[in-house]
Symmetry: C2
């Protein structure tokens, strides 16, 4: 059988400086090749700064709270039930500018690298470094 | 820019005999090639009977309620935050056996066909037809 039930105790959790991750599906956990899926939480005032996934598309679905979502130089506010599609290699960022924890479901495909997820951080480079303050 | 914000009014909604669908990302809506993502709601007593996606992996994440999830001949109950990974071509089904609406976030990859989503219904064939009553 090529499939796997993912119960709460099966989800590996990680705390990063910009939020919490729960790995729902990626190659080491489920054998997936096409889909990396995560729970992400962003605390108020925190965010995932400008980055790209050179070989993966991404969809972020907001489940609770609100995020300021960037796609290259454009931004919008997304609330529960809203989402963003991010093409391969497109620079993007998500910040929680609200006052409650933002909960996101994030899907990337296809799986990249051994862990299913690869990114290039561009937050220290212009124009991304100054974009939010300009 | 290869990306798209998906506000609530951008989501095309469909009512089927087994539940409601909201198309968050698929080729006609977002230009996606790798990710088809849907909101799915299942009312109590209803479900998506046994089927396969011959060319797509799938991850179903339960956001609210509870589902009886099948992977071939095995089943389990999944609650909020729990999930299932379904390999390409693996027969599966989801039924709402609880007493509240089940809300699911569903990701499939890569996109298949023009609409991003293709399935083969096997619910009329044995062993699937008799599996839940046996």
């Amino acid at each position: 059988m090529n499939g796997r039930f993912v119960h709460a105790t099966d989800i590996e959790r990680e705390q990063l400086d910009w939020g919490g991750l729960g790995w729902i599906s990626r190659p080491p956990a489920t054998g997936a090749r096409q889909l990396t899926v995560l729970d992400v939480s962003l605390e108020p005032g925190h965010g995932h700064d400008f980055h790209t996934h050179p070989e993966q598309e991404e969809v972020i679905v907001v489940q609770a709270g609100e995020i300021e979502q960037w796609l290259e130089g454009e931004k919008t506010v997304l609330g529960p039930g809203e989402a963003v599609f991010i093409g391969m290699g497109t620079v993007h960022a998500s910040f929680n500018t609200g006052d409650e924890t933002a909960r996101l479901t994030v899907a990337l495909g296809p799986c990249a690298g051994e862990g299913g997820y690869e990114l290039v951080d561009v937050s220290g480079e212009e124009p991304w470094r100054s974009l939010r303050s300009s």
